[in-house]
């Protein structure tokens, strides 16, 4: 039952969006978010939206998958939209009881919704087209300069990739422990929230113990394979920027510049 959970949500493929260097894609998302937050009015938003639509088309990711990603935050989007709608001062449109809806409020709420939706869609597109491992690789490589100020970049990346590696193993283990406890009469379904939370204790305790044991064994196994930190390590897959990376980066930078210029003219 738990096995169906997929994390990282990666859709394998071989499109331009998949082949781009992970570092490029991370920078693109940063540029895209910057553009989104600098956009002031319809023309700028339309430009950013156009870039998003093209990116989705190129990636071959089904738009439905992107919309699905929005589901968990629908509530937050609606809540902020309503607040913006009701509490923005300006030219009055309708007024009832203690609320006044203004023209500015309507616009503000509309842009807010647009900004949130596009933000989520853009970042989801990154995880949909980049495998967790290359995402970690990309982050490690991008954050490399931080090593100079003693940020343990390699260690953090290693922790992240090992965590990703062990998610399926631990899920499988949880499944086994649950079955074992059920076989002895444990009840996970009935009762109120507190009782349900209490019922989780007999799952979590053995899971933690086994996770620690695994960590211990893994550490020994890694040492046996000559792991001694990030120093002097080489890589099977070396990240290399290609011409296409520079082209796409230039395109996104141009988009950000255009949005800034448009913003200057209030568009």
């Amino acid at each position: 039952m738990l096995k169906d959970i997929t994390l990282g949500q990666f859709f394998p493929g071989n499109t331009l969006a998949h082949r781009l260097d992970p570092r490029t894609k991370i920078i693109l998302v940063v540029l895209y978010i910057a553009a989104l937050f600098c956009a002031k009015y319809f023309v700028s938003y339309a430009l950013v939206a156009l870039v998003l639509v093209i990116s989705v088309k190129v990636s071959g990711v089904h738009p439905k998958a992107l919309v699905k990603g929005l589901r968990p935050i629908v509530f937050i989007i609606c809540f902020t939209a309503i607040l913006n709608l009701l509490y923005t001062p300006g030219e009055e449109l309708v007024s009832f009881w203690i609320f006044t809806i203004t023209k500015e409020g309507v616009l503000q709420a509309f842009f807010m919704v647009l900004r949130f939706t596009m933000l989520i869609m853009g970042t989801f597109l990154l995880t949909y087209t980049t495998s967790p491992i290359s995402l970690t690789d990309g982050l490690e490589s991008l954050l490399n300069p931080l090593k100079k100020i003693h940020v343990p970049v390699h260690e953090l990346a290693m922790i992240m990739s090992i965590a990703l590696r062990f998610i399926p193993t631990l899920i499988e283990e949880t499944d086994k422990i649950m079955s074992a406890q059920k076989a002895r009469g444990a009840d996970f379904e009935s009762g109120n929230l507190l009782q349900k939370a209490k019922a989780l204790v007999p799952i979590l305790v053995p899971l933690f113990i086994s996770a620690f044991r695994r960590a211990d064994e893994l550490a020994v196994a890694m040492e046996c394979r000559c792991y001694h930190g990030g120093g002097g390590r080489t890589k099977l897959h070396v990240l290399r920027y290609e011409a296409r990376d520079y082209l796409v980066l230039a395109g996104f930078a141009a988009m950000l510049a255009a949005v800034l210029v448009l913003g200057h003219f209030g568009l």
């Binding site: 399926p168 020994v220 196994a221 046996c224 394979r225």
Partner: protein, 280 residues
């Protein structure tokens, strides 16, 4: 040929719990493993066989005595990487020794740590996966593989470091019979074709029959040491050490007791069948 691993009067005790006197897990062990040989170390639980294995690539350091790997003293910390590059280790639980999300990335982990150049890593990864017969799983996720396949990936990860010796610390204990067969066939082929020294720690007697040499341990000491043909037929002695003789040996012993003139040292099924046919 030279010795790849040599222990001299090795003793070791695990730290004792409060109020207890430490018991020696190893008590004066002197063995020498010849390069290119296939050695099985047998013993029941707590006999010290795993502890001995862990000394062979400096996971544990001697409490007393010396361990030399390819002539290097394991207690010299500056030689640690060099020692572990020579002697690779495969553990019991395949899940807890696979580091990466993708088979090829995991196999590359060892050479990456050694600072091997990228093209050379590629060559070694492909070669190692081929050597264990897993080349078609190069891009698979390890958690979708069977136990035997995972263990073969772990072996490939060790081979990619191009060691002279592989120590298998009960690496077949958690596998089903099919998985065990896959793993044993793989290590036997590596031993014969590539000349890699294999030290196999086990309590399965039938695995002992595959070796050139069998070392039996009990209470932290080596109690028997010789060719499988000399050791395995000694049914009474093995029983006394908490081990079972292989089924073929038991059968031949039974027949002998009933007055058939069969030899006692037929180890595999084919040989055993022929011996019985001759006796009839």
């Amino acid at each position: 040929m030279s010795d790849i691993v040599r222990t001299e009067n090795l003793t070791f005790a695990y730290p004792a719990e409060e109020g207890q006197t430490p018991v020696n897990a190893l008590d004066g062990v002197s063995v020498a493993i010849r390069e290119g040989s296939f050695v099985v170390i047998l013993g029941h639980n707590g006999s010290g066989k795993s502890t001995l294995a862990k000394h062979m690539n400096a996971v544990l350091l001697p409490g007393g005595g010396k361990v030399y790997v390819d002539g290097m003293d394991t207690s010299d910390e500056s030689l640690l990487l060099e020692i572990r590059r020579r002697v690779g280790m495969v553990f019991q639980n395949p899940d807890n020794q696979i580091v990466a999300n993708v088979v090829e990335e995991d196999v590359a982990f060892g050479p990456e740590n050694l600072g091997v150049p990228t093209e050379e890593i590629r060559r070694r990864v492909d070669g190692a996966l081929k050597a264990v017969g897993m080349e078609e799983f190069t891009l698979h996720a390890p958690h979708h593989l069977s136990g035997g396949q995972k263990q073969r990936v772990a072996i490939a990860g060790v081979i990619a470091m191009e060691p002279k010796c592989i120590v298998m610390d009960e690496s077949t204990a958690m596998l089903d019979p099919l998985g065990r067969r896959e793993v044993l066939d793989t290590v036997r082929r590596l031993n014969r074709e590539k000349g890699v020294t294999i030290v196999l720690i086990t309590h399965h007697m039938d695995e002992a029959a595959l070796a050139d040499r069998v070392v039996v341990m009990d209470n932290g000491r080596v109690v028997m040491d010789g060719a499988p043909r000399e050791i395995l037929p000694q049914m009474a002695e093995l029983r006394a050490l908490g081990l079972d003789a292989p089924p073929t040996v038991e059968l031949l012993h039974g027949l002998k007791e009933d007055g058939f003139g069969v030899p006692l040292d037929a180890l595999d099924i084919q040989e055993c069948a022929e011996a019985i046919c001759r006796a009839l």
